[in-house]
C-alpha cells in the first residue's frame, strides 16, 4: 500500500472530524436556553430561595466558563483546547472536567458494548449463513424470522420488557445499575461477579435487539453468493459440503458483514445510549443523556467528539484491512 494513500486518508479523516465537530459545536448553541440560568432556577425551585443578584451570579459564571465571549471566539478557544487534549469542564458537575467524566463512564460502555457487539456479530452471522444455505434443516432457516421481529422492537422497549419480566416479576436479576449500590469498584471476585450479574440484562437486550440485523445481512449476502458460479464449480470439483460452505460461500458472503462490524465498533459509544439509560448503567450513554437534558455544552461536545473520532478511525481501519480480506481491492494501483 502506498503511503500517499494512507496520508490522503488521514487528511480526509481530519477534515471529517473537524467538520463534524464544528457542526456539533454550533447546534446546541441554537437553543435559547441558558444552562447556567436553568441550573440556578432548578436549585431555586427545590430550595424555594431565589438569590436577588441572580443575573450577576450568572454573568460571573459565564465569564468563568468563557460563555460571555462572542461565539466565534468561543469556537476558536474550544478547538484550541481540544487540540491540546482538554475537552473542557462540565457546567453541571463543576469542577469535574469532561475528560474525567468520560474516563469514568467509558470503561463501562466499552465493556458492555464490545462484548455484545462481538457476540451479536458472531451468532447473527452464523445464523444468517446457515439460514441461507440450501442444505440447512428447515428449523435453522426459520430462525431468522423471530430475530427480525426482535430487531423491529426498539432496544429500549425490549430493555423495559426484560426488566419487567426478568428483574421485577421473576426477581432473579438486578433491575438497574452496573453494581450494587454502596459497593465501590474494586477488583475482588465478588465485585466482578456482581458486575457480571448486572450486565446480563443490558447485554441480552443489546444482543436480542441487534442480532436480527446481522442475521438478515448475512442471509441476504448468502443468497446472492450461493448462486455464484464459483460455489457451483466448487461442488463440481467434488469438494465436501463443509469445505464449500466455509471457503467458498461464507468467505465471500461475509465481506460486507466485516465492513458493518468495523462500523459497529465505531458506533459502540453511541449504540447503547438508550439501553444504558433504561438500565441506569453508568456508561457514556447515561452521561450523554444527562448532559443533553441539562444543556451541558462541553460534555455534549466531548462525548460527540470521541464518538466522531471512533467512527472516523474505524472507517479508516475498514479501508485498511479490506485488501487483506478481498484481494480484488488494492490501493497501490493508479
Amino acid at each position: 500500500m502506498k503511503l500517499s494513500y494512507l496520508f490522503r486518508r488521514l487528511v480526509f479523516l481530519v477534515i471529517v472530524i473537524w467538520t463534524a465537530a464544528t457542526l456539533l459545536f454550533f447546534i446546541p448553541r441554537l437553543s435559547p436556553v441558558n444552562p447556567i440560568r436553568e441550573r440556578f432556577l432548578a436549585i431555586a425551585r427545590s430550595t424555594g430561595y431565589l438569590p436577588t443578584d441572580l443575573n450577576t451570579i450568572i454573568a460571573s459564571f459565564e465569564t468563568k466558563f468563557g460563555l460571555d465571549k462572542p461565539l466565534p471566539q468561543q469556537y476558536v478557544d474550544y478547538m484550541r483546547s481540544v487540540l491540546r487534549g482538554d475537552l473542557g469542564v462540565s457546567l453541571m458537575s463543576y469542577p469535574k472536567t469532561v475528560n474525567q467524566l468520560i474516563g469514568e463512564a467509558l470503561p463501562w460502555t466499552l465493556g458492555l458494548l464490545t462484548v455484545t457487539t462481538i457476540i451479536t456479530f458472531l451468532v447473527g452471522t452464523a445464523i444468517g449463513a446457515l439460514a441461507s444455505w440450501p442444505k440447512s434443516p428447515q428449523w435453522v432457516k426459520g430462525m431468522v424470522t423471530p430475530l427480525i421481529v426482535l430487531a423491529a422492537i426498539p432496544p429500549q422497549v425490549l430493555g423495559l420488557l426484560l426488566i419487567y419480566f426478568v428483574a421485577f416479576k421473576l426477581n432473579i436479576l438486578p433491575m438497574t445499575g452496573a453494581f450494587d449500590p454502596g459497593d465501590l469498584p474494586n477488583l475482588s471476585i465478588t465485585f466482578i461477579l456482581d458486575v457480571a450479574r448486572h450486565a446480563i440484562l443490558p447485554s441480552l437486550t443489546l444482543v436480542l435487539a441487534y442480532i436480527g440485523f446481522w442475521a438478515l445481512g448475512m442471509r441476504g449476502m448468502g443468497v446472492t453468493v450461493q448462486g455464484e458460479d464459483y460455489v457451483l464449480f466448487a461442488e463440481h470439483k467434488g469438494l465436501p459440503q463443509n469445505r464449500v460452505f466455509y471457503a467458498y460461500y461464507v468467505r465471500n458472503a461475509i465481506l460486507p458483514q466485516v465492513t458493518s462490524l468495523a462500523l459497529a465498533f465505531g458506533g459502540i459509544i453511541s449504540a447503547g445510549v438508550l439501553v444504558e439509560s433504561v438500565f441506569g448503567f453508568p456508561g457514556i450513554g447515561s452521561t450523554l443523556t444527562a448532559a443533553i437534558a441539562a444543556n451541558d455544552y462541553f460534555v455534549i461536545y466531548g462525548i460527540g467528539f470521541i464518538t466522531i473520532l471512533a467512527v472516523g478511525v474505524s472507517m479508516l481501519v475498514v479501508d485498511l484491512i479490506y485488501p487483506l480480506l478481498d484481494p480484488r481491492i488494492r490501493y497501490d494501483r493508479k
Binding site: 458460479d229 464459483y230 457451483l232 461442488e235 463440481h236 470439483k237 467434488g238
Partner: protein, 354 residues
C-alpha cells in the same frame, strides 16, 4: 467412423430428470440414451431450455431440488472400471466428480473463487480427492496441469481477478483435468469469450482431451464450432435426444425434421442474407404436445405424430433418430407431405445486407 472404435467410457441409458415445480412436473431430460467412446468429442445442441444443461448436471449428479433424477443409469469409466454414478453414495459421488467425470463450467468469468489464489483452488480439489503427497508435490502437479493448458506457472500465485477471461477458462480446464477424468463435460465453455480466444480455448480443450484419451461432451449453440470440433452431434429437443449422427452426416444430411430445420437456419455462402427460421417456439416443458413433441412445428407432421411418440430408428452406420418418417433401419418410409397438416410453411426471413 474411427472415433467410435474406442472403448465406451460413458453409457447413459434411459436418463430421466424431473423438476417438481409449483406449476407442475417438468420432464427436463426424458429418456436419454447415449454412449460415448474414449477419445471422442460429442456435440450436444438444441434450443435454450431443451434440457442440455440439465443433462450435463444430471451426468455430474448435481441436480438440485426441486429437480430429481428419476431413473436411468450413468456408467462412467472404461470397461472393467465402470461405476454407475447414480448408484453411488453421496461420499463416493464426491470422489467420482473430477476423478471420473469432470465439468468445465459455462460462466468461466465467475467460476473461480475471487478470494482464493489459483494455487489454493487447485490444491483444494486435489486434497478433497485424497491425492497423496505433501504441499510441494501438489503444487508441482498443479503447475503441470497449468502448463498443459498453456498458462505460466506464475498464474499459480495470482487471484482470479488478475486473469483475463480466456486465462480463467484455461484455469477451469486445468482444474478439470487435474485427476485425469475419462469424461469431460464442457457446458458452453466459450460462450463468454470473444471469437479469437474461443478458438484458442477450444483447441486447448481438444489437446488435453486427446492427451488424456478422454471423451468430451461439448454443449453449445454454436453450430460452426460444432462442425469444426466434434466427431458426433446429438440434437436435443424438449428433453429428448431426437437425432445422433456423425458431424458430417448431421451437416450434409440431417434426418430429423428439427435437425434439418436447425441446419438450414445456418447462414451459408450460396444463400447469402437469407436465413431459414424454425416456425413456432420451443414448447413449454410443462405442457408438452402429445405424440412427437416436435409435431406442432414440423412441416412433415402426419396424424400418427400427434398421438404416438416415435420409436428409435438406427441406421446401419450407427446414426439414430426418433421420427415417424423413418423405419427401424432409418430408411425413409413416408413421403414428405409439406404443409400436410396445415402448418405454415417455413418462412423466409430476409436479413438486411450491408
Amino acid at each position: 467412423m474411427t472415433t467410435t472404435t474406442g472403448m465406451p467410457v460413458l453409457q447413459v441409458s434411459d436418463l430421466r430428470v424431473t423438476y417438481y415445480t409449483d406449476a407442475g412436473r417438468t420432464r427436463a431430460v426424458d429418456g436419454v440414451n447415449l454412449t460415448l467412446y474414449a477419445g471422442e468429442r460429442l456435440g450436444l445442441v438444441g434450443e435454450s431450455g431443451c434440457g442440455k444443461s440439465t443433462m450435463a448436471l444430471a451426468l455430474m449428479r448435481m441436480i438440485k431440488p426441486p429437480g430429481r433424477i428419476e431413473t436411468g443409469s450413468v456408467l462412467v469409466g472404461p470397461a472393467g472400471d465402470q461405476v454407475d454414478t447414480l448408484k453411488l453414495t453421496e461420499q463416493q459421488m464426491l470422489q467420482a466428480r473430477l476423478s471420473r467425470i469432470a465439468y468445465i463450467p459455462q460462466g468461466a468469468m465467475n467460476s473461480l473463487n475471487p478470494v482464493m489464489k489459483i494455487q489454493s483452488q487447485m490444491i483444494d480439489a486435489m486434497r478433497a480427492h485424497n491425492v497423496k503427497g505433501d504441499h510441494d508435490e501438489l503444487v508441482r502437479r498443479a503447475e503441470v496441469a497449468l502448463e498443459s493448458v498453456e498458462l505460466r506457472r506464475t498464474v499459480m500465485r495470482m487471484y482470479p481477478h488478475e486473469l483475463s477471461g480466456g486465462m480463467k477458462q484455461r484455469v477451469c480446464i486445468a482444474i478439470s483435468i487435474l485427476l485425469s477424468p475419462k469424461v469431460i463435460i464442457a457446458d458452453e465453455p466459450t460462450s463468454a469469450l470473444d471469437v479469437v480466444v474461443q478458438r484458442q480455448v477450444m483447441e486447448t480443450i481438444c489437446r488435453v482431451q486427446e492427451k488424456l484419451g478422454a471423451a468430451v461432451i461439448l454443449i453449445g449453440h454454436d453450430m460452426g464450432l460444432m462442425a469444426q470440433i466434434t466427431n458426433r452431434v446429438a440434437v436435443m429437443y424438449a428433453g429428448k435426444l431426437v437425432e445422433l449422427s456423425t458431424v458430417r452426416e448431421m451437416f450434409t444430411n440431417p434426418l430429423h425434421p428439427y435437425a434439418q430445420a436447425l441446419i438450414s437456419s445456418l447462414p451459408n455462402l450460396e444463400n447469402k442474407g437469407v436465413f431459414q427460421s424454425i416456425p413456432g417456439l420451443a414448447p413449454s416443458l410443462l405442457r408438452l404436445p402429445n405424440g412427437c413433441t416436435f409435431h406442432p412445428r414440423c412441416k412433415y407432421a402426419m396424424d400418427v405424430c400427434k398421438t404416438l411418440a416415435p420409436p428409435q430408428s438406427v441406421t446401419p452406420s450407427g446414426r439414430y433418430v426418433f421420427c415417424h418418417l423413418y423405419d427401424r433401419e432409418g430408411n425413409r418410409v413416408q413421403q414428405p407431405a409439406v404443409a400436410g397438416n396445415g402448418n405454415a410453411p417455413h418462412q423466409k426471413v430476409p436479413v438486411a445486407e450491408n
